[in-house]
């Protein structure tokens, strides 16, 4: 079985003065989160979609799914955690306690605020998770990455050829993910906010799936404008 876990935990604090979390803002007459759920809903490799969102938004999310999605593939809405790791743990716990799982169970985790992902990205995530146990979606870095340990002076400039920018989905064999998460101390959990990083630190292989430049994360009001531009009709391409 392959589960998609969509993380809609953001509270919208970075979206200027707007109180609505960004995943619930409208993009082309639909909430961003619905566009994202739809992509997993129609993908034949995904058996169930699990949406994790802040408690006050659980009922609203359920209403939106009822309004915008046809009946068919199961879409379950549960409460996310306080942190990204907490949300990931909630997803894993829910699947483990409520669904039948085995060593071939896959979890594809994705940000609700990345509605532009493609069929191929999902397909290759599932294939890579089955084959390697863990994978991350990345694109080659176009800007030079500069590292600074103190925030004022450059401590190093890594070779751009070896640099990639992380996107989502990140996908895992569920049992491997559980093993890695359970090996973390509470302190490690608070520092290691990226599941793929946890795998890497624990010397587990993480395969890189090629992302897309347009698989953007809607974080700031500017991103919403970019997203709206990407969705403009044929005439605007002239």
């Amino acid at each position: 079985m392959v589960y998609a876990a969509i993380f809609a935990g953001g509270k919208g604090s970075r979206m200027g003065n707007i109180d609505t979390p960004k995943q619930f803002l409208d993009l082309a007459s639909k909430p961003v989160i619905i566009h994202t759920i739809e992509k997993f809903y129609i993908h034949s490799s995904i058996d169930e979609v699990i949406v994790l969102c802040p408690k006050p938004w659980v009922a609203i999310t359920k209403d939106l799914i009822k309004k915008y999605l046809p009946e068919g593939k199961p879409v379950t809405v549960i409460e996310g955690g306080e942190t990204r790791n907490g949300t990931l743990e909630n997803a894993v716990k829910f699947i483990k306690e409520n669904r039948e799982t085995d060593d071939n169970t896959i979890i594809v985790t994705h940000d609700a605020v990345r509605p532009f992902l493609t069929h191929r990205i999902i397909e290759e995530n599932v294939e890579a998770a089955i084959k390697y146990g863990a994978c991350d979606t990345v694109i080659p870095a176009t800007d030079t990455i500069v590292e600074s340990e103190d925030g004022s002076l450059i401590s190093s400039i890594p070779n751009r050829k070896h640099m990639y920018q992380g996107q989502t989905p990140q996908s895992f064999r569920l049992n491997d993910l559980i093993a890695v998460l359970s090996s973390l101390t509470e302190e490690e959990k608070s520092i290691l906010t990226d599941a793929c990083k946890i795998f890497t630190i624990k010397n587990k292989p993480v395969y890189m799936v090629e992302g897309e430049v347009f698989n953007i994360k809607i974080t700031y009001p500017y991103d919403m404008k970019v997203a709206a531009t990407l969705l403009k009709g044929k005439d605007s391409d002239d």
Partner: protein
């Protein structure tokens, strides 16, 4: 849902655009295989008038496709069913003019987005189920086969009953497919093929006789003919058909030409000939085509032979590779395995 569509924005330039198909009301398909048509190639290479390019681009190419149903809110199709989508989209009913000749009909990859996209949204009445056992690469160019089926249906409507000998001018894809379908629909007629390349004529092993156009016996007579040549060469082809056709014969014109073609009307009048045009096809032609392919498994086997190349597409660069591979071939079909 946000869908990625791969549009030709200028000759040789493809870019991704995003659309928002309505999954509550439309059938959503995932393309499996597609095939490149000469019409797509003309847009890709910019071999259309400036006016046509300006009016029709940006536009996703490809109108030959076989796909899997992803979701169908009407309940007519199940997820996973394999179907052939019909690119012609009528916008009004007409009990006289069939759907592919209505001026108000839309056609995918001619002013409207073709199938080159992650998902295709379409109405359920534009889909024809593909029976098990038909090779998907062959099924990818069902549309082209249905154009031949449509032309033969029109031929049956217009032509007199004596069909002892039928000639096909043109040794390319359209000639080959029309000849195959004609042999299936009129197995008792003698089928003669007229072409310019001996190697290509060699593929027509099922025909009764093939001729190089420079060596046609003067006394050869046919009852009816199909012109599948197109371009400037359709003028000498039509002229030769008129020379060899018996009085009151019918000539189906299937070759596309950018410029007007001169026709010997004196002899058309004298022989009482019937020239008719045929273009594109509709749902009924697709259904009939699929039925014929299912009932005559030899036909898909013959058609497998004209697949020149199969290109797996994961990136926009791969789309360019497929079109470039197709350019280098003057016979056969280029098939795209869609993994984008």
């Amino acid at each position: 849902m946000i869908n990625q569509v791969y549009r030709l924005i200028a000759p040789g330039m493809i870019d991704v655009a995003c659309t928002t198909p309505d999954i509550m009301n439309k059938v959503i398909l995932r393309p499996l295989y597609m095939s490149i048509c000469k019409a797509d190639q003309r847009y890709y290479l910019g071999n259309r008038s400036k006016e046509a390019l300006k009016a029709k681009l940006p536009m996703a190419l490809i109108h030959e496709c076989v796909a899997e149903v992803v979701s169908d809110p009407t309940g007519r199709f199940k997820s996973g069913e394999v179907v052939v989508p019909v690119p012609n989209t009528p916008t009004e009913d007409d009990d006289v003019i069939v759907e592919n000749y209505r001026l108000t009909s839309h056609f995918r990859s001619s002013g409207y987005d073709g199938f080159l996209s992650d998902y295709v949204d379409i109405d359920a009445d534009r889909l024809v189920r593909l029976p098990d056992g038909i090779d998907l690469k062959v099924a990818s160019f069902t549309e082209l086969i249905s154009v031949a089926t449509h032309a033969i249906s029109r031929f049956d409507m217009f032509s007199h009953r004596r069909k002892d000998a039928i000639g096909i001018w043109g040794d390319g894809n359209v000639g080959y497919i029309t000849a195959l379908m004609l042999k299936a629909i009129h197995p008792d007629s003698k089928l003669y093929i007229f072409g310019t390349v001996y190697e290509k004529l060699g593929y027509f092993s099922f025909a009764d006789k093939t001729y190089h156009v420079d060596h046609v016996p003067a006394d050869l007579k046919i009852d009816h003919a199909f012109e599948c040549v197109g371009g400037e060469a359709s003028r000498p082809a039509i002229s030769q058909i008129i020379d060899h056709i018996n009085p009151m014969g019918s000539i189906g014109l299937m070759g596309v030409s950018e410029n007007p073609i001169a026709i010997n009307t004196r002899m058309v009048l004298e022989k009482g000939l019937n020239l008719f045009g045929s273009s594109r096809s509709g749902v009924a032609d697709f259904q009939k085509t699929v039925d014929i392919l299912h009932e005559n498994p030899d036909i898909p086997n013959y058609l497998e032979n004209i697949i020149g190349d199969t290109v797996t597409v994961r990136t926009i660069e791969d789309i360019h590779k497929a079109f470039k591979s197709d350019i280098s071939r003057n016979f056969g079909k280029t098939v795209i395995k869609w993994e984008k």
